[in-house]
Amino acid sequence: MDYRLLLEVSRRSLAVSGLATLISLALGLPLALALAAGRWPGRRVVAALVNAGMGLPPTVVGLTVAFLLFRGGPLGFLGLLYTNPAMVIAQVVIATPVVAGVSMAAFQQLPRTVWMELAALAPPWHLRALLLAREALAGLLAATIAGFGAVISEVGASLMVGGNIHGQTQVLTTATVEAVRKGEFGVALGFSAVLLGLIFVVAALLTLLQQRNRR
């Protein structure tokens, strides 16, 4: 087993999926808040779409993003196909509904008195968002774990838009699939073990944060 390869692929996986998770948090949390707190036309439709999006098949996402990024496609001029940014984009599409859906539920779970109190106290919007996030922290961390878990373990989208190019876009899942295809089961097991370990460590860190604030 080539440890340098293992390290390189693991780092890429962590970077791509970590960045995708952060971006999906930036997109998903405001959306979740707007869905949980707002009264605007089409709110229910968007909420339904988000919930449906939580089950979005990565292969379908990969195919769609690939179509967009093909040289002849609408975003082809960017030249992103088979690059790490392409994988990030696809993973953001996968993770955002997961983050938004779980966060929306977390915000909606807050007691009515929290919303009433905020209405009465009328703090500026950024403080209001911060207070809500802290009240719903456990749920938001669950959303983060779910979003990260979904993208670091998906293979379809990464394969389709990343291409599993050695030294460039190979991530843990695509490397595992390739190893199995070649019959190198030992290598495949190695990649899998690292993937599991990675998920466990990240989840453990977030859990620590989540449970520290338990009342």
Binding site: T113, V114, M116, L121, L131, R215
Partner: protein, 371 residues
């Protein structure tokens, strides 16, 4: 007379009430929980929303605080309808204490500082004002305690500090004393004058005792309707409906002042006359709760009796429950006696005539007013 109108009256005519509700119906999930034709909150007054559980008092308070948009009807603030553009200014001047106040993560002090967040003060000013508010609510010793480790009474105290921290001109308090043990309750009640400091107050309670201790005016909310608004003496003297009379226990409230405290406290009635009341009482303004069936009427002072006698004029006589007659009296303040038909025939009084109303020292309950 001609010419001289008292200055106070002129300003009273010129100024709009602080809050006015018109033709309001409000509630949750399309079910109206409260209906009110018209209601005004006058600047500087203490208005108590009084009524049984589930009558709609909280819903009415939420409408007054613009936390619940009504199904129909409008809310006016100083004569102007409350709109999206005037709401922020309204929020800055109104402090609301919810029935179950929510304290956010953080210390008591950071929670109180949240009450100032809408004012756009500097961090230092916020901390300063928050400390002052905690002190006002006698909760400064809790400042650095985590909010979620406080007891119910402490939480309410911190929440009260948060409500008043911004020095609002209008305070809306929803059952500020509910779920608090009796000593803390008295303690919190005694805080009220310091906290109020001449501000306008609207307070929700289901306790007649609390209402009488606090209210300039009572607003009775029964069965999802605002049924009557008036001073305690007005409301008790002429209840708008049987429900109101029943909720007030059929009692009449006489305003007065404890002038001598002791075994038998001496109360000077606002309408003239003095009444001795059994039991100790703190000197100061008070309400006497009188049960009309314990009031007897006489033409001459009854001999050999220790009873309190108040001079009164008969205003009217009407049928009451159980074949009794209710005699409405004017004793400076409205009073009512419940007597049998025979007793009244023996007495032979007619409306307009003067009588002596006798009140037993042991049959009167005294409520000290919080001033």
């Amino acid at each position: 007379m001609g010419g001289s109108i008292p200055g106070g009256m002129l300003t009273a005519l010129a100024t709009e009430p602080l809050l006015r509700l018109e033709e309001v119906s409000a509630g949750y999930d399309y079910h109206p929980a409260i209906e009110a034709d018209r209601m005004e909150v006058v600047e500087g007054e203490r208005l108590v929303l009084l009524g049984p559980n589930g009558a709609g008092k909280t819903t009415l308070l939420m409408v007054l605080g613009a936390l619940l948009p009504p199904f129909r009807g409008r809310l006016f603030y100083r004569g102007a309808p409350l709109t999206r553009s005037t709401l922020p200014a309204f929020r800055r001047r109104v402090g609301i204490l919810l029935q179950e106040p929510h304290l956010f993560r953080g210390t008591a002090l950071t929670n109180v500082a949240l009450g100032l967040a809408r004012l756009g003060l500097s961090r230092a000013r916020r901390r300063e004002a928050a400390s002052a508010a905690l002190q006002l609510a006698r909760a400064d010793h809790l400042a650095n305690r985590p909010a979620h480790r406080l007891s119910v009474g402490e939480r309410r105290r911190v929440a009260l500090a948060r409500t008043v921290a911004s020095s609002p001109e209008l305070l809306l308090l929803d059952e500020p004393l509910a779920g608090v043990d009796p000593p803390s309750r008295r303690d919190l009640l005694s805080l009220l004058p310091r906290v109020l400091d001449g501000k306008t107050l609207v307070m929700v309670t289901q306790s007649l005792e609390e209402a009488l201790a606090v209210a300039d005016r009572l607003a009775l909310v029964i069965g999802g309707r605002l049924v009557q608004v008036g001073t305690p003496e007005e409301v008790s003297a002429s209840p708008a409906s049987q429900e109101v009379e029943r909720f007030l226990g059929g009692e009449v409230f006489l305003p007065g002042r404890v002038v001598r405290a002791g075994e038998l406290s001496l109360v000077a009635l606002a309408g003239g006359g003095e009444v001795r009341v059994a039991g100790p009482a703190a000197p100061g303004p008070c309400y006497l709760r009188v049960r009309p069936e314990t009031v007897s009427l006489h033409r001459e002072p009854p001999r050999g009796s220790e009873r309190n006698l108040i001079a009164a004029r008969v205003v009217g006589v009407r049928e009451a429950d159980r074949g009794c007659l209710a005699v409405d009296l004017d004793a400076g303040a409205p009073l009512r006696a419940l007597v049998t038909r025979e007793a009244l025939t023996d007495l032979g009084v007619r409306p307009g005539e003067r009588v002596l109303a006798a009140i037993k020292a042991t049959a009167v309950a005294l409520v000290s007013r919080v001033r």
